[in-house]
Symmetry: C2
Subunit: 346 residues, 2 copies
Amino acid sequence: MVMNVGVIGLGLIGGSLARRLVHNGYAVTAWNRTPRPYDQARSEGIHCVDTLAELAAQSLDVIMLCNPLKAMPSILAQLHEVLLNPKVTLSDVGSVKGMVREQVREAGLADRYIGAHPMAGNEFSGFEASDPSLYDDALWAITVDEGSDLWRCAMVGELISRGVGNRYIVVDDDSHDRAAALISHMPHAVSTALINQLVDDDNRNIAAALAAGSWRDMTRVALTDPERTRAMIDEDAENVEALLRSMARRLDALADALHEGDHGGIAEFFAHGQAFRDYKAIERRHAGHDAAIHNGKEMTLALEDGGWQNTLLESARRGERIEEIAQTAHGYIASVVTGLGLHNIE
Amino acid sequence: MVMNVGVIGLGLIGGSLARRLVHNGYAVTAWNRTPRPYDQARSEGIHCVDTLAELAAQSLDVIMLCNPLKAMPSILAQLHEVLLNPKVTLSDVGSVKGMVREQVREAGLADRYIGAHPMAGNEFSGFEASDPSLYDDALWAITVDEGSDLWRCAMVGELISRGVGNRYIVVDDDSHDRAAALISHMPHAVSTALINQLVDDDNRNIAAALAAGSWRDMTRVALTDPERTRAMIDEDAENVEALLRSMARRLDALADALHEGDHGGIAEFFAHGQAFRDYKAIERRHAGHDAAIHNGKEMTLALEDGGWQNTLLESARRGERIEEIAQTAHGYIASVVTGLGLHNIE
């Protein structure tokens, strides 16, 4: 089916999403905090409204919250007042999921919520920077909990696969937020610690003079707005804390091995991550992740009441990607493609 | 003056150096472990000889050791036998300096040694990959100790400034090796610890699926040959150990601050390295480091017996670059350009 989608917030992510959905034949109604982007958005075929009540009055299937996280409580409180049709599913594009679900629950909207997070973005912002191709080959994470409706999950999945043309995985909030902490939030803190280490060194100007590619790569994210990084880490503090302690133990263990001349321990440190090097080498040979996944097998997973969340989580853990969740005569099934996966370290 | 330079080892670094010196009118005699690159080297105007004795028999001003570190002891032992002229200065291009000076001392050649390390290179190797432009805008570190001859330091400096067309700094071995540990060796270990963290995570395939630019940048060097990284860290083990422990304490301190909700501590962590962000922002505005330095002032430093090493170390610490060390009627002077420097954190 072709859906009616509401988009709240016409920034880079929301604007690009709205434009991509319109390109693919979806009807999109948008509301933005200020009408500044409306002229441009209307010329792109987006129906713009002045109030959230007007948005809620449309016959919508899904509303995507694409507003800044800090505006979330106030927008959710307003939606709770005006969003009377229980069939409308609420989703979002935030980069932390546990916190958003908590805010949705506090606003009394938990029943209709399915989380989502597209792996897309760049360093720009605002509708004027929006670009439907921002979503080319983007992978999404959908997040659910025990109380989530499978039909709502399937609908957000369809918006992603047919509306945007992307693949997705379905996981719980905590798995998402821990993974995001591992591959983004914690590394941002490590990068920041590196530049702190440099400025504290008496020979900082000598070090800065000798710095080459490895230093440049490892400190690039420390050069981005530290206030944004601080907020991102604060929102996922518990996971980041655990990962920082684990990283500190790894660095101390290598320091101990170097101190003791423990050649076996040093060798193990450098061999330990080989599965990831192999994974990246295969990915490179296939010229990018998505192409590598295309070489995967097609598979079908039966989704059962009370167990579908775990079936999809295990699928994501195996490195699979979902192409579609569909209703059949025998219930819901997920069509997935097997992925590369770090299989040799299972 | 135009020098006669001996180059030992015609790999990427030595071959590119020899070709650049020939382009600039220097006479270069080279020896390589095998004569494989000799035809190509001779066509580039490099005089190739079959033994180190033949090399030593030339009337050379400086010999640059451009061989692999593991071949150093054997080559130095041979040079000790054949290098009878005490006027010949010995230098090298190795990326760790304390260890090389130790090997030079053990070979009985310490009196004539001046260390050097060009910030140049790429992922290729061998004379066939050599390219004189590898040294475009490269900065060199020269390393000296209390016993070093200033005239030899000036001669290696002239080879760098007139022969290669680069600027340089002059520091002690330990300052060099600690700075190299800070901006390269330790970060390589941190990058490796990140991929170890990922492969140990139950949700590694979810994390790998969500990974984007920050993860890619921070793990790039962990994907390079781990055996080369291991060897590099082993050669600078003491400095790397201290830096790993310091980094571990920084990560633990941030973890503590997150745990305690210590907003002041978290804010300080993210503000601490601001001087480096400012430094890089200025560098970017000047489109690269060398251009930024060109905007610096020209200055002259008097070099005095017994104190010149420290004068030059302090200059490097201020972020200055040496253009020339010259002998005048009143003794040696260094012409330097003031650099960007991380001044606001002095």
